[in-house]
């Protein structure tokens, strides 16, 4: 018998998968652990997409975690990481929220700009888990390599929730140009981020 256990070291993706499996079985402690791992990133994203509406951001994160609890099988570990699955879920709900609100009332347009995305919103000096911080730095660096015109359409789509038609109208450029820039941006990010994943 070995004298000492080896550290039960796992990758962060493995930890997420193990937690998710427990979640599937109705384990509330696993839910709390996933909340602890992703609530800050999720809330920061929702806050950013809603333009700093704390109440909406809270509702979005609430709804995303509740959806995760009620339908955990929506995540399939064979299709990607829990991290990207859950943040996509939050983003989808955030975009839905701002589009619904836009339909209800005119919303102050946030001018598309080329300012760096980091540090734009008050984040209370919150630090996130190390494994997310590392990936955050990689994603920000990859984003920083995009030509300004590609990053602009990506920002308007992702953080302002605009459709490609709306982006074309706002920038006064053909719809086809928006499509081309969006695709080029994602293709370039893919090449860089798949290397570092």
């Amino acid at each position: 018998m070995p004298d000492r256990p080896s550290p039960i070291a796992t990758s962060d993706a493995d930890v997420d998968v193990a937690l998710h499996r427990r979640l599937v079985a109705g384990d509330r402690a696993a839910f709390d652990e996933l909340y602890g791992r992703y609530a800050k990133a999720a809330y920061g994203l929702a806050y950013r997409v809603t333009g700093g509406q704390a109440v909406s951001a809270q509702d979005i994160v609430h709804d995303a975690f509740l959806a995760l609890w009620r339908a955990p099988d929506a995540f399939d570990e064979r299709r990607g990481s829990f991290r990207t699955f859950f943040l996509s879920l939050v983003h989808h709900r955030a975009v839905d929220t701002i589009r619904r609100e836009t339909r209800l009332r005119s919303r102050n347009e946030r001018a598309a700009n080329l300012e760096p995305l980091t540090g734009e919103d008050p984040a209370e000096g919150v630090t996130d888990a190390a494994y997310l911080a590392v990936r955050r730095r990689e994603v920000r660096e990859a984003l920083g390599t995009l030509p300004p015109e590609q990053r602009q359409v990506l920002e308007m789509a992702y953080f302002d929730g605009k459709t490609q038609v709306e982006i074309a109208e706002a920038l006064g450029i053909p719809l086809g140009t928006v499509k081309t820039r969006t695709f080029a941006a994602l293709r370039k990010l893919r090449a860089q981020l798949e290397e570092t994943e």
Partner: protein, 233 residues
């Protein structure tokens, strides 16, 4: 890449960001139904763009949600599975008997070092039920399963109704842990319907924790790998 494929991937980029409207949205839906499922390139592209969408969320600075959010969620989490009622064990037992009758649990019996993990027969399940009904019997959650033990017994049971299968090519591996020591118990797989009923021939009072890891099937049980479940023994 053909011009047609270039057009398709442009659509997928817009789709991945929820950025399509009108005819483009309808075109994308049609592609997702008819073309993408059979196209390796497009499936790979869509998966990669979906991952980028998730990771772009990290560009936003992290923020602490209000302290009230988690308690609010707790109030709304409906229990999905009850595993502490011995009557449930009887229901599982019935299904296990059926599974055994159809060819076994898919459990690999391996003798460990002083502790064994045993596939339950229909007769054993009766003993598990008897144990669960004893005065002082305890039932502790261990991941998606429940550990059933009773005072003074030199064995305990682990059962679950909805245990997910481990990744392909892997098995669950049980360990007993005491301080810095650990002991390999055995490997197991859930039945196709997710049922697991195991007898562990070890006194739970001798150990601190029961740990279940996921391991490559057929690998040597030298030390615990990735923890899948963990509970006090």
């Amino acid at each position: 890449m053909s011009d047609e494929h270039a057009r398709i991937e442009e659509l997928l980029a817009g789709y991945a960001l929820d950025g399509l409207a009108g005819e483009d949205a309808a075109d994308a839906e049609a592609l997702l139904e008819h073309h993408v499922p059979g196209c390796l390139t497009c499936r790979s592209t869509l998966r990669a763009f979906g991952a980028i969408r998730g990771d772009l969320g990290l560009v936003a600075d992290p923020m602490s949600p209000p302290d009230t959010l988690l308690p609010r969620l707790h109030r709304e989490l409906e229990p999905r599975a009850r595993r502490r009622n011995p009557a449930r064990l009887a229901a599982v037992a019935a299904s296990i008997v059926l599974v055994v009758g159809l060819g076994g649990l898919g459990l690999t019996r391996l003798d460990g070092d002083g502790a064994t993990l045993t596939q339950l027969s229909a007769a054993d399940i009766g003993q598990a039920l008897e144990l669960a009904g004893r005065e002082g019997a305890t039932m502790n959650d261990i991941g998606p399963a429940t550990e059933v033990s009773a005072p003074g017994m030199d064995h305990f049971y682990v059962y679950g109704e909805t245990v997910p299968a481990p990744p392909p090519g892997e098995v669950y591996r049980m360990w007993l842990v005491r301080g810095e020591e650990f002991r390999y118990v055995g490997d197991f797989l859930p039945a196709p319907d997710g049922a697991v009923v195991l007898r562990v021939d070890a006194d739970p009072d001798d150990w601190d924790r029961v740990v279940v890891t996921t391991e490559t099937a057929g690998s040597a049980p030298t030390s615990p790998g990735a923890t899948a479940w963990d509970a006090a023994a």
